[in-house]
Amino acid sequence: MNGDVLIVGIGNEYRGDDGVGLAVAAAVAERQLQGVRVMNATGEPASILDAWAGVALAVVVDAAVGEGSTPGRIRRWTPGREDPPTVVSSHSFGLAQTLELGQAVGRLPQKVVVFTVDIEHFDHGVGLTAAVANAVPAVVDDIIAELEKQMA
């Protein structure tokens, strides 16, 4: 896979652990992987649909919340039969809706893989809680492994 991978970090760095997607995106960007573009997103759908339309693989990283969540837990999800994870969204327009909208208007990547990290809180203020910060390198490793798997 060359020149056709997009990593999308979704979040708000000013809302505590909601910044985890951006932290992972920044860490992937630091690796300067050839052919891999990295994008920071607020979750606003139009810019994501624009950026990922037609790319071979989009890896999305977002913060997850909900009952039974364990701060720092990493989950991998691909669109299909399984219900989408509950991600943090300030305007009731989450990743699942962006995927649906993308499907309707034909603006999807060939493949989407979503990593979510369970978070502790999304209160005002910068900085990740320890459990969430500790998960960042592991998500980066998971993404690298994902890219290698797709390239194989």
Binding site: A46, S47, D50, S92, E100, L101, A104, V105, G106
Partner: protein
């Protein structure tokens, strides 16, 4: 609950920016009260601006809103420049107007296609509309992208631009940087004219409201990035007299202050702007408005989607005009040396007039700040419109009334996050 009481509830209003609720009480078949509950917590912007450097409000207040940050940056800049006795030269004012056109285009495109059109075509949301009418949503995304590109080019990025500063910009583009944008704008102008024709065929309820209208006006052009204040009934007043006429008061049911104009409800936003300034539209926008069935004035809030579509056409034309006339300014900004005193600034956010007032102290720090966003100003008018609509449709069932109220609110594209200092719906019939 007595047999005469009827309660209708909606948990949280959708397709509005931010979080709020609505509570309608009907007693013995008459509307007793309509309350728009804005329950987003207060955000204390005015308080934490105190003690900050006089140069900071444009960047800090941009964070009030992810949809209309340019409005905050420009009203803030206008106010502080006013306090410091500086007027930005025309070439930099034109560049501000160009950036602002980008915000109008993207904000209006979002509301027209994803938030408002589903109400007219009978869809619960933009996604289900997109499944049946991908052509329509695709069109909206193309227009919206043009606005976003404009904001990226002039503002440095599409959300919370970083290139605006007191006196102008940190950097200004070369003329050749704007050429690809002009191409996108020309394509979007055709799309926007088609869209206006398309939305003009929607079925609009036949209602009008008699609120006083308040908007900026400009001697030469349709008001966007600055202007003087005009109203539909009373005499115009100076921006510095805003606080003498517009009074904000707390109400129990909302974290947003309610504003009145000389003690009365009033409306700002696209309907007010259009009704007070339609003669200032460009010939193409004016002709397109007439072809879409709009007269020189529009007081039917359901037809605000037409006005927004006209404003998209206008903003695209304006952007093309400014780009055609653009010559790179010798300096990206003019110096704005601090001066103790009070300044007032206004501009026309996509949702209406946005007023900022700052007092700068001898130490060059902000002593006090006042921000009056359009949605806060419109709450009284929105509640009045819902009360009238419910009263005219009392025989309707709860689901119909609920839907009518939600549509009535969406007519005004309220930005709850901006105003919270906004939706769940309950209707009590007693």
């Amino acid at each position: 609950m007595s047999p005469e009481t009827r309660t209708i509830s909606v948990g949280a209003l959708t397709r509005v920016e931010g979080e709020g609720a609505l509570h309608v009480t009907l007693t013995n078949g008459a509307v007793e009260s309509v309350e728009l509950n804005i329950y987003e917590p207060p955000r204390f912007f005015e308080a934490f601006l105190r003690g900050r450097a006089y140069t900071e409000p444009p960047d800090i207040t941009a964070r009030v809103c992810g949809i209309c940050p340019v409005a905050y940056q420009i009203s803030a800049s206008n106010a502080i420049e006013n306090a410091c006795g500086i007027t930005v030269p025309p070439e930099l004012a034109a560049l501000r107007r160009l950036l602002y056109c980008g915000e109008w285009i993207h904000s209006h495109a979002l509301h027209i296609f994803l938030l408002h059109t589903p109400d007219f075509l009978g869809y619960p949301d933009g996604i289900s509309l997109a499944k049946d009418r991908p052509d329509l949503i695709e069109r909206g995304l193309v227009i919206k992208k043009t606005g976003n590109r404009l904001m990226e080019q002039i503002g440095g990025r599409a959300i919370h631009p970083i290139n605006v500063r007191l006196g102008g910009f940190y950097s200004v583009p070369d003329k050749r940087d704007l050429e690809p944008l002009a191409e996108m704008l020309r394509h979007s102008l055709d799309e926007a004219l088609d869209v206006l024709q398309l939305v003009s065929r929607f079925d609009f309820p036949d209602v009008e409201f008699d609120h006083e209208l308040l908007s900026l006006t400009d001697t030469e052009r349709y008001p966007i990035e600055n202007g003087t204040i005009k109203r539909s009934a009373g005499p115009a007043f100076d921006v510095a007299a805003f606080g003498d006429h517009i009074v904000e008061a707390q109400v129990k049911h909302s974290t947003a202050l309610h504003a009145t104009l000389d003690g009365q409800r009033y409306l700002t936003g696209p309907l007010a702007r259009y009704s007070l300034n339609s003669a200032a539209l460009s010939p193409i926008a004016r002709q397109a408005a007439a072809a879409a069935g709009l007269g020189p004035e529009c007081r039917n809030p359901f037809r605000s989607i037409l006005v927004r579509a006209v404003e998209v056409v206008y903003a695209i034309e304006e952007a093309l005009r400014i780009i055609a006339e653009y010559e790179r300014p010798a300096r990206p900004f003019v110096d704005v040396p601090a001066r103790a005193g009070v300044g007032h600034g206004v501009s026309e956010a996509p949702r209406g007039l946005l007023y900022h007032r700052y007092e700068i102290g001898d130490d060059n720090l902000i002593k006090s700040a006042t921000i009056v966003p359009p949605t806060a100003q419109n709450q009284g008018a929105i509640e009045h419109e819902m009360a009238e609509l419910v009263a005219a449709n009392l025989m309707s069932d709860d689901a119909t009334l609920t839907s009518l109220c939600e549509k009535s609110i969406r007519n005004h594209d309220p930005c709850i996050s901006c105003s919270a200092h906004f939706l769940t719906l309950t209707i009590d019939r007693k």
